[in-house]
């Protein structure tokens, strides 16, 4: 009996475990990638990071491999595995890698490391073979906030965050500032789905928070909450309001109800880091990607052209130019 339970557990761990892939060896430069929870196919920043290496493979002629740790699997072991291989540069995708990648980078001083959304701790020195790839999410969020503030007919907009952490507060702060910059009367309602990683995977909660915000008058809701946001989209469909996507263009999740999406270009950060490595310009420390670097932005294309009036886009483009020039400082918290 205990054998059978053991076998069951074993099978479970196997299925929950890891997948991976890659390409064979040759004289080319090699890059490794360890994905966050969700892994490839998350339609969000894991896929975005993958696009970055895939583009580098095509245009810069590198080779790459990757590991997808399953839920609760050992990120550190995955990083070590790639660091021990021929890979010269190893990426960790997501803030969850912060502690592990700093540790592994110290143990492999001859390799380079990059970590998307690395949570910089001002009290501890970062290893000098590690680059923290940070985004100025607040700048992109400011622009979609401005769109929301201009499009809202009720003068109330909502923000749904996943886990209640400083990283997500940047989205909230930028969004609120953007909405208020163009519409001083606007009310910004906010809600977070939780205080653990699960908060990024709870669509029912996202829907409940949206219902509550719509009940208080919100007619445009921006989310930064992983698949929790799919609940926001569902609420938008049911209550006929607009939602704003995040990280990638989420239009296809609820066509007609996604006003725009705040883009966070993990692919740009990954590609530029690889390019820097190949040209010998790799720099450790913190690299920030904002509007000026094309690291964040918003979607305005054939899909959502009919949803956003031209005057609104014009106004938002003006704001964008001012942020890039430094005339507007967007708050990050």
């Amino acid at each position: 009996m205990s054998f059978r339970t053991g076998a069951l557990l074993g099978l479970a761990f196997f299925l929950a475990g890891c997948g991976g892939g890659g390409s064979s060896s040759s004289g080319k430069h090699r890059v490794g990638l360890v994905f966050d929870l969700g892994g490839r196919g998350d339609k969000s920043f894991n896929d975005s990071a993958y696009e970055g290496v895939a583009r580098a493979a095509k245009e810069l002629g590198i080779e790459f491999d990757y590991i997808e740790p399953g839920d609760g699997a050992d990120r550190e072991a995955a990083l070590r595995q790639l660091a021990s291989s021929k890979d010269e540069l190893i990426f960790g995708v997501g803030f969850l890698f912060t502690d592990d990648i700093a540790l592994v980078a110290k143990d492999f001083p001859n390799k380079k490391f990059g970590c998307i959304d690395f949570a910089v701790n001002p009290n501890s020195k970062m290893p000098d073979n590690l680059v923290a790839l940070k985004f100025r999410e607040h700048e992109g969020s400011f622009l979609v906030g401005a769109i929301a503030g201009l499009v809202s007919k009720t003068n109330a907009v909502g923000f749904v965050g996943g886990m209640d952490i400083p990283l997500i507060h940047k989205f909230e702060a930028g969004f609120a500032a953007g909405a208020k910059a163009v519409n001083p009367k606007v009310k910004v309602l906010t809600g977070y789905a939780g205080v653990t990683g699960e908060a990024f995977k709870n669509p029912a909660k996202g829907k409940a928070i949206s219902y509550s915000q719509i009940g208080q008058g919100a007619d445009v809701i921006f989310h930064a909450s992983g698949t929790t946001g799919l609940g926001v989209f569902e609420a938008a469909r049911e209550k006929k309001i607009f939602a704003i996507g995040v990280d990638a263009d989420q239009f296809s999740e609820a066509p007609g109800f996604i006003l725009t999406s705040m883009l966070k270009r993990g692919d740009v950060a990954v590609y530029k880091t690889i390019e820097a490595l190949l040209t010998g310009r790799f720099k450790s420390g913190v690299q920030e990607f904002g509007l000026a670097e094309g690291g964040v932005g918003y979607v305005y294309d054939a899909n959502n052209k009919s949803l956003i009036p031209e005057a609104v886009v014009k106004r938002v483009e003006e704001l964008k130019a001012k942020i890039v020039k430094g005339e507007i400082k967007v708050p990050a918290s």
């Binding site: 339609k43 995977k201 029912a204």
Partner: protein, 303 residues
């Protein structure tokens, strides 16, 4: 006033998976089998509902598929814990881990995404005119799955306390030796209880995915564990478990509304409400609770 009604309606909707899983878990434990696999059975139900709806185009076929999937997952738990008399906690945990892995595996295989499935036919509210405007009752009457949930709670309570099946169920949970000597097939009763609990939990999962029109990775989000707390708080009666689950739903709805109201309290405090409620309730407010005497104890039938 409008906000209060919103809050109560919201509480009911949030509570559905808690209620169904807690009532199912109660039946299971009354029969003498601990079921911490509820979480995995909710997840399995959510996924099977989407599969059923995806392949047939009918949300109700999805619900049927959820019942089968949940029953199957529960049967697995039954084989380990009843037939092979394995540790019920470990077996339940294995079901949870297995469900997480298998659903993700098939999500990728079928829908080519590690995040979410395609959008499928779901189950929404029907409009009943003015009836839908009545607080709480209107909300329940306007949604077939809410109505079904209410009916199932009543049925489960009747099943346990007013039918021969219920009497035998409680007998094998309290004193299986005694029941055995009276000619009750202990294992068969326990299998029935476990599979029934899996179906209840799976229906809770179907609610999650049918309301969302899609499956998302790990969308059960720990609801099975809240349901476990609810069934203890409910003192191992179906109606009690449902009431406790409603209370947890209310705490969570309150937490959401306080955030929307922009209360300047650190968010962590608001987020704590459902958990503090759980601890306070479990620790003191309900007095002594007594699980069925043979709860969690395997019974060697025929030895």
């Amino acid at each position: 006033m409008g906000a209060v009604i919103d809050l109560l309606n919201q509480a009911v909707r949030i509570a559905v998976p808690y209620i169904l899983a807690a009532v199912g878990g109660t039946i299971c434990e009354l029969g003498g089998v601990v079921n911490i696999g509820l979480e995995g059975m909710i997840l399995t139900g959510a996924f099977c509902a989407v599969l059923g709806s995806f392949y047939t185009g009918s949300a109700w076929a999805g619900v049927l598929a959820a019942l089968m999937g949940g029953g199957l997952a529960a049967w697995l738990h039954g084989i380990v814990s009843i037939r092979y008399r394995g540790n019920q906690i470990i077996s339940g945990l294995a079901v949870n881990i297995l469900a997480g892995g298998i659903t993700k595996f098939f999500l990728k295989a079928i829908f080519h995404s590690s995040a979410n499935s395609s959008r499928v036919e779901g189950i929404g509210s029907w409009s009943l005119g003015f009836v839908s405007k009545i607080p709480i009752l209107g909300e329940i009457l306007s949604h077939p799955l809410l109505l079904l949930t209410l009916a199932l709670v009543v049925l489960a309570q009747l099943l346990v306390y007013k039918t021969p099946f219920g009497l035998r169920l409680r007998a094998v949970g309290e004193h299986p030796e005694c029941a055995d000597t009276l000619g009750i097939r202990v294992h068969r009763m326990r299998y029935a209880a476990v599979i029934l609990s899996g179906m209840f939990a799976a229906l809770g999962g179907a609610w999650l995915s049918m309301d969302q029109h899609q499956f998302t990775d790990n969308m059960s989000g720990g609801r099975g564990y809240i349901a476990l707390a609810a069934l203890i708080f409910g003192k191992w009666t179906p109606a009690g478990a449902a009431a406790a689950a409603l209370l947890f739903g209310l705490a969570e709805a309150l937490q959401i509304h306080l955030q929307t109201m922009g209360l300047r309290v650190p968010n962590q405090f608001i987020q704590m409400i459902p958990y503090v409620a759980t601890i306070v309730i479990l620790a003191g407010a309900i007095g002594r609770t007594k699980p069925p005497a043979a709860d969690g104890k395997p019974y060697p039938e025929g030895d």
